[in-house]
């Protein structure tokens, strides 16, 4: 059964529909093909453009309204003295930027978090990769263990931080960690209030590892399952010993793309740290000057009672630029997107 030609795309189709077109004069030679009307062209063949925008449009609108407009507004605010207002009039140029860069509290928070990142990124990387390797070797109950390790990812950062703060690492004798120490006759420790030694890092790092390791383990697991078995067979034929040698020369190189993505995500997450730090260390009167992430500092500057939205926006722009530069440098260093050999 032959299909009828689409009256809109058939040669000679005019502005009017096929149903209302007057029949051409007999024996008349057909004129040159006319282009469809502008609205029709906008809709595209089979209304493809229309459907594209129906599906994509809401997300584009959401992204514009809730991400790009606030971003642009934040950059705009950063050039103004904006205390308690989002529509300032007092232009100050780069004063907010220089003030923020001279602010010891802000630069300390950046330095602290460079150190935190230098620790938490490799720690999470190694732990999640180790878990993935172990789960990947399981011959039975692999799905069960994968789920068990992944489960903490579903837990809210705030809830986990509260459990760590109020139950495991509270500073009194009946806290879980202090109870265990008590069995060995040790004194109780104020985990989150002691700066010498800085025990609060133990609390912060353990809660973060517990929360995020499972997610990166699943990424590595996906990467491991994509490695063709024939590579291992070839390595065995060549005399590679199972274990470290095979991991070093076969598994790890094959995981390069996953490793780069994991490292990038970990660095960005480390610099965007907020939830668990705020929950663990803030109180009704503010936040202590130690273990203060940049975002927590900016939150108090811009959205606390200080409401210095200009200064806070300048800090946010500086932080965004730092994250962007670090990410791009890291991507180039690791060759993100480079074709795998």
């Amino acid at each position: 059964m032959g299909r009828e030609a689409d009256p809109l795309t058939a040669p000679g189709a005019g502005r009017r529909s096929a149903l209302t077109r007057r029949p051409s004069a007999p024996c008349a030679t057909p004129g040159p093909a006319r282009r469809p009307a502008v609205p029709r062209r906008l809709l595209g063949p089979q209304n493809r453009n229309l459907w594209f925008w129906i599906f994509v449009g809401p997300f584009v609108i959401g992204l514009t309204v809730f991400t790009y407009v606030p971003l642009a507004w934040s950059v705009y605010l950063s050039f103004f003295d904006a205390h308690n207002t989002v529509s300032p009039t007092d232009f100050v140029g780069f004063d907010n930027y220089t003030a923020m860069l001279r602010d010891d509290a802000f630069t300390d928070s950046l330095a602290t978090f460079a150190v935190f990142t230098a620790f938490i990124v490799p720690a999470t990387f190694v732990l999640s990769l180790a878990l993935a390797l172990m789960v990947n070797r399981l011959r039975w109950a692999q799905a069960f263990f994968r789920s068990v390790f992944f489960l903490p990812v579903a837990c809210s950062y705030v809830v986990a931080a509260l459990v760590w703060k109020m139950s495991i690492f509270n500073g009194v004798r009946f806290g879980l960690a202090n109870t265990v120490l008590g069995w060995f006759g040790a004194d109780q420790v104020a985990w989150l209030s002691t700066t010498d030694p800085p025990w609060y890092w133990l609390v912060i790092v353990t809660v973060r590892l517990w929360l995020q390791t499972g997610f990166y383990m699943v990424l590595f697991l996906a990467g491991l399952q994509r490695i063709p078995p024939r590579l291992y067979e070839a390595a065995a034929v060549d005399g590679a010993r199972p274990g470290w040698q095979t991991f070093r020369h076969v598994t790890f190189p094959q995981l390069r793309a996953t490793s780069v993505a994991v490292a990038l995500l970990l660095v960005i997450n480390a610099f965007q740290a907020f939830d668990e730090f705020y929950t663990l260390l803030s109180d009704a009167r503010g936040y202590p000057p130690y273990a203060r992430p940049p975002l927590v500092y900016l939150y108090y500057t811009a959205l606390g009672q200080e409401q210095n939205l200009g200064l806070g926006s300048a800090g946010a722009v500086i932080l965004a630029l730092i994250i962007a530069v670090v990410t791009v440098a890291q991507a180039r260093w690791f060759g993100l997107g480079r074709k795998e050999e």
Partner: protein, 418 residues
Amino acid sequence: MSISRRRLLGSGTGIALTGALAAACGSNTGRGSGDGPAIDQWYHQYGEPGAEQAVKRYADAYAQADVTVQWRPGNYDQQTAAALLTASGPDVFEVNGPTLDQIQGGQVVDLTDLVAGVKDDFHPAVLATKTHDDRIWGIPQVVDAQLLYYRKSMLADAGIEPPRTLDELIDAAKELTTKDVKGLFWGNDGGPGVLMATPLYAAGLSAVTDDGTVGFDDPAAARTLGKLRRPYKDKSLLLGAPSDWSDPSAFIQGLTAMQWSGLWALPQIKKELRDDVGVLPFPKDGPDGAPSVQVGAYGAAVSARSEHQRQAKAYLKWLWVDKTEYQEDFALSYGFHIPARISLAKKAEKLKEGAAAEAVRFATDHGYAQPLLWTTASQTAYKDALSRIIKDGADPDGELRSVVRKTEAELRRVKKKR
């Protein structure tokens, strides 16, 4: 059965619209029953049973407007600060201020005319924190004081007198510390958050002087703040308690012999410990020192973005100036606060004996309120410095020098805006 894209989209849109309409029609606005314009009023969440029902009852009793009360948990100060930037915020709201930036930013309405005639009946220390350029920007609701609670029996057993100087307090905290009980609790952070400028006032200084200059650019400040390191170093401080200084649980549970907390905690403490509790102001330090008690007051303010400013002011006057029976009820029937009006505080039966009477006397004789000119940025710099002095053993002189510079810069900024 196949479903076309059009039908799927049409059905989805229909369901979404139905849901939205149902949500809109079914939402409970919690409106009051008054006539006239609709007024939104915000309170922060008090932990005291019955307080929420009480304020809603007051709102319902107002006949000139339809008042809706929002009882807001969480970071209330941040919520109001953000809401005041938009037109969708409250008309009338409770505020731990207003702050100087809120006043200078034109976010709140001048309420001076509302208290004409009764101005002298308000506690002067808390009214001063609501006053800028001789105009009043918030009406104090209740007065809260912070005091040192101590277990009489624990001090008696150790043969220790209630401390009258900072040195005595530090020594007492050390002597009262045992394996299971710490001598002193003034916040899980070791003190900076709750003490703030109290030690400065105990040394005879201030945060900002009456003529608007830095009040702690003095060697006495470094001497007093330096002493606060000792209880931390001696391990006399309770740190990391499940609830912080504002809650008396640690004190009631016997985790500490002395605790710095608010007057609001007294009923709970009395209920659990009966007469085994005494109260003290922060003890003096040095030859020019004097005991100090920080007093503060949430105030009622009107948003400058309100479309019903006139009606909002009328409601506020009715509630926090005219209706003295409601003011007394709010202060003393649910929690435990000193009424902001001196005449009400004097006749309140609950404040006439025992530790409550002592607390009121200390608040009256030694009360200070944080000056309006001491901005949030100055306070943050000071609190960070105090934390480093206490926990890291940082040099108090050096730390205070940078705080003085920051405070001077802030004072210049806010004076420029006048």
